[in-house]
Amino acid sequence: MSFKVVNKLILAKDIKRLDILAPNIARKFQPGHYVSVCPEEGDERVPLSVIDADPVKGTISLIFLEEGQTTTKLGTVAIGESVFSVLGPLGVPARIEKTGTVVCIATGIWTAQILPICRGYRKTGNKVIGIIGAKTKKTLMLEAQMRLSCNTIYMTTNDGSYERRGLATDVLREFISKNEVNLVYAIGSADMMQAVCGLTRDKNIPTRVQLSPVMVDCMGMCGSCRVKVGGKTVLACIDGPEFDGHKVDFEDFHIRIKSFEELDEWRSRKSQLNPKKNESKTLTKFLSDFLKN
């Protein structure tokens, strides 16, 4: 089966949206599912959450940030070309039931991940409050879609270039102190989710988070996505990505994520990646030194 890219959009700086033809996945999509994408044979597999699916056309939409080698490569796939493999849908779909007022909070690239959740909660008849945050106005994305899928929306930017200046968690703190909230759904960086869980733990509001640790095969076979939830080691790829936020051990999660982040730094070093280039550099250096003398 070929996974053809039927549409591609650039949403913000380094953020792209791909619509990929994958009828088997589109047929089974529920909010909270993710897929494992491998742009070219022999590449790393990246888990990307499915934003939207069209069972009639048989397409799924993915939004991703070009940060690593693999996602950059995925971003260069043009319309009409194919992706090597897309496996899915994976993970347990989000538990969506009628609870009342639901606050969906997300920052940065994770705004894309919260969108299907917001839509799901809205559809089941909840009052959905959306809080999205970004660094600047340029990286704030999916504003229109979020406006449509939330009853009320609050937007923040870190530098104050759009709407409100500040962090998304500040808005949440204000909101839960004034209003009654039945559920908080948070997706974001480890720090942000930890902060949200800290706020809601005081108020005793049930909180759900989606964890996105590093995954290799996404089928529970490698154990690289192990996280500690409620004192037990679980695999985020099959038992998650949705977890009870108050039970997640964020310290542990932070270390797990960090151990691969530092690797990216290490990998992007030219000398590691391309020893030959380095050699030629030393040769020119040697020659220039030689000529100087």
Binding site: L87, C222, G223, S224, I238, I255, R256, E262, Q272
Partner: protein, 408 residues
């Protein structure tokens, strides 16, 4: 001959080889073994353990090497086997050794077999679990191509349970489903510090190497953090594979295991290879804690020496830690390869599928059926950890059972 789980006629094929008929020897093996060139490389060779010449004090015949020779040199061009299609479709979940061998057997019986594989390439554990130097990818690909020419359809990127459930498979018209998902889930270690950066599980480590960039061994650096001194914990084949891979990257490797070297779960031959390559063995050692530096990366491994205590009831020697023998190994990467659990993930999505306490699928001993009618299971998902040949033999047995069930 009795000791080969597949029942290959070993004296017959050796006789052919002696007379110089390599192709006939290959055909003889192929009668019982659908993957001879793979078995010739990675089989645990129970036949050599039971070789009659050993008792007489002679040299043991290297049956595995002979099998490999006849598979490499006696292979004819793949011919399509004439088998009458009997109008029944069978789905096989997983394209590992047991899935492949059962699908070959089923095709010979006239069924149209479709293998569903969740990864992007077929082969299962042969592809992601066994490093390139033990089983070259070319050999694996050619074996799988042979199976494809027989008429077996392989659907990759298809996760049974998520992409389609078992119920949907039956709706599609499959007469029976065979679950051959194997045992690939790592056992977690319960020592403090397994969450630090630089701690990998054997499966994760091998998968990263095998699935990403084929042929990484040549001069390229691995695409993840691998320290200068690696400690591998475990005494199975996975542990030895990990250790040898690290060694091939030029790392200093120490292999730690709880029991003595003679009790290791691998063949003496493999052990010899590892030793030749310069892997340091540390028998009778138990890891206690993984230490980390301020960046949360592995800094050392605290171990304790073990020694034999009194014999316990089962017959194995009980091990007890030696007092005051704690020492810290100066390592910067730890790979844990202490065993697998059966991959019964499919029961997450089909709760009607019952599993036993040890994680294996509940299977009726006589018919081979699981708790859902029409769904069979074979291989390591039933037997937990077993050698490759045993998994293949159970795949062939399951094919016979499916045949009996569908014809009934």
């Amino acid at each position: 001959m009795k000791d080969c789980p597949l029942g290959i006629d070993i004296p017959a094929f050796i006789r052919f080889l002696r007379e110089g008929h390599v192709a006939s020897a290959y055909d003889k093996i192929k009668e019982k073994n659908p993957l001879p060139s793979i078995c010739g490389r990675v089989c645990s060779a129970p036949c050599e353990v039971a070789c009659v010449l050993k008792e007489e004090g002679g040299v043991v015949i290297a049956i595995r090497a002979l099998e490999r020779h006849s598979a490499d040199y006696g292979k004819s061009r793949a011919a399509k086997r004439e088998s009458q299609y009997n109008g029944k479709k069978i789905a096989v979940v997983g394209s590992g050794p047991s899935g492949l061998s059962s699908s070959v057997d089923l095709t010979r019986r006239g069924y149209a077999v479709t293998i569903f594989e969740a990864l992007d390439k077929p082969g299962g554990v042969l592809r992601y679990g066994i490093p390139e130097f033990r089983l070259p990818r070319k050999i694996l690909d050619s074996e799988i191509n042979d199976i494809k020419t027989l008429g077996v359809k392989i659907e990759t990127n298809f996760f049974i349970g998520q992409t389609a459930t078992l119920g949907e498979l039956f709706k599609e018209g499959f007469a029976a489903v065979l679950i051959a998902t194997g045992a690939g889930i790592p056992k977690f270690m319960d020592i403090p510090g397994t969450h630090w950066g630089g701690v990998y599980y054997g499966e994760e480590f091998l998968m990263r190497l095998n699935l990403m960039r084929p042929g990484v061994f040549s001069r390229q650096s691995p695409n993840f953090a691998l320290g200068e001194h690696v400690a591998v914990i475990g005494s199975g084949n996975t542990a030895l594979d990990c250790a040898r891979v690290c060694r091939r990257y030029g790392r200093k490797v120490t292999l730690l295991f709880r029991r003595s070297e003679v009790e290791m779960l691998v063949r003496a031959e493999e052990r010899g290879y590892a030793r030749e390559e310069g892997i340091q063995f540390e028998p009778l050692v138990r890891p206690v804690e993984i230490l980390a530096d301020q960046h949360h990366f592995v800094n050392g491994l605290k171990c304790v020496r073990m020694d034999y205590a009194d014999a316990d009831v089962v017959g194995q020697w009980e091990l007890a830690p030696v007092p005051d023998s704690e020492f810290v190994l100066d390592v910067d990467t730890v790979i844990c390869a202490i065993g697998h659990k059966p991959n019964a993930l499919i029961s997450h999505f089909d709760p009607a599928l019952k599993i036993n306490k040890d994680g294996t699928l509940k299977v009726d001993g006589e018919s081979g059926l699981t708790t859902i009618p029409g769904v069979f299971a074979c291989g390591n998902v039933v037997s937990n950890a077993g050698p490759l040949v045993a998994a293949m033999a159970s795949g062939i047995e399951a094919a016979q059972r499916i045949d009996a069930y569908v014809k009934k």
